[in-house]
Amino acid sequence: MIENSLLAAVPRKEYRRLLAGLEPVTLTFSEVLYEPGETIRHVYLPGASLVSLLTLADGHLALEGGLIGREGMVGIPLVLGHNVS
């Protein structure tokens, strides 16, 4: 069973094509996936994990602007055309 619902909704043919590029990874608590301004090299499709998108004020005070779990994907800027977080 595919845990991530976005992946699960991809047409079968496309999913098969994607499969070769999908790499299972363990996301550990408080691991940072991207820092602001850093080049984004991977998108993440969470299964049982939750990823918080934080916006910084004054470079350190963080506010959660988004929460991503099995319904979504982390790394939207890569899709919108610019590979910097």
């Binding site: 916006t55 910084l56 506010l63 602007g65 800027p77 055309g81 610019h82």
Partner: protein, 244 residues
Amino acid sequence: MLAPHTPKQNHLSAALPAADYERLLPHLELVPLPLGWAVYEAGGAQGYLYFPTTSIVSLLSVMEDGSSAGIAVVGNEGVVGIALFMGGETIPSRAVVQSAGYGYRLRASVLKTEFGQGGGLQRLLLRYTQALITQMAQAAACNRYHSLEQQLCRWLLLNLDRLSSNQLTMTQELIANMLGVRRPGVTEAARKLQADGLIHYSRGKITVPDRPKLEARVCDCYAVVKREYDRLLSRKPAIVDPLS
């Protein structure tokens, strides 16, 4: 005399490759955008994509009791109606003209065809969407952590950028709505800024006589948003001088 209208007053359409621009030009229709007019309602159908030229449109989150809070502003740097090309068709927020002026509109069907071809328009609209996401996220953080005075500075600068002007026609009531705060707070913050010579407020017109002074007072949130727009859309200088 006022300069003639041209879609190139909007930075996004001005940044289109010449061939894409020529193809779209016959479909871009000049429309007046009067104060308070709802470009679209929460969850409502959006028939056109709007390219503001001399107007500002606020995107508002609507609460159950009818009150609303501003989540972003769009002017000559952007477009109103991203749901049309992102694939969702509608969005649970409303878009209202907060500074009257003009803009061009593009019929949804034409937009979708053009976007689907994956040319210059698609590239620009997606990058604009990313910049817009940053504006929304940074406003949320700013509204949570910074003083109302700083929020007001950020908001003023964002608005002036989008009009390519140093003057804004705006009531304090409207500003309070945008920032999601009570009006007396805005009055107090505006009075302070006026006392320090950063703004001049008279009869609903806010003038910024010395922009660098206002920029020195604003929190870093403004620069974060501006840098992102510049980086993603590499802004060209305004082609039409609003004073000529």
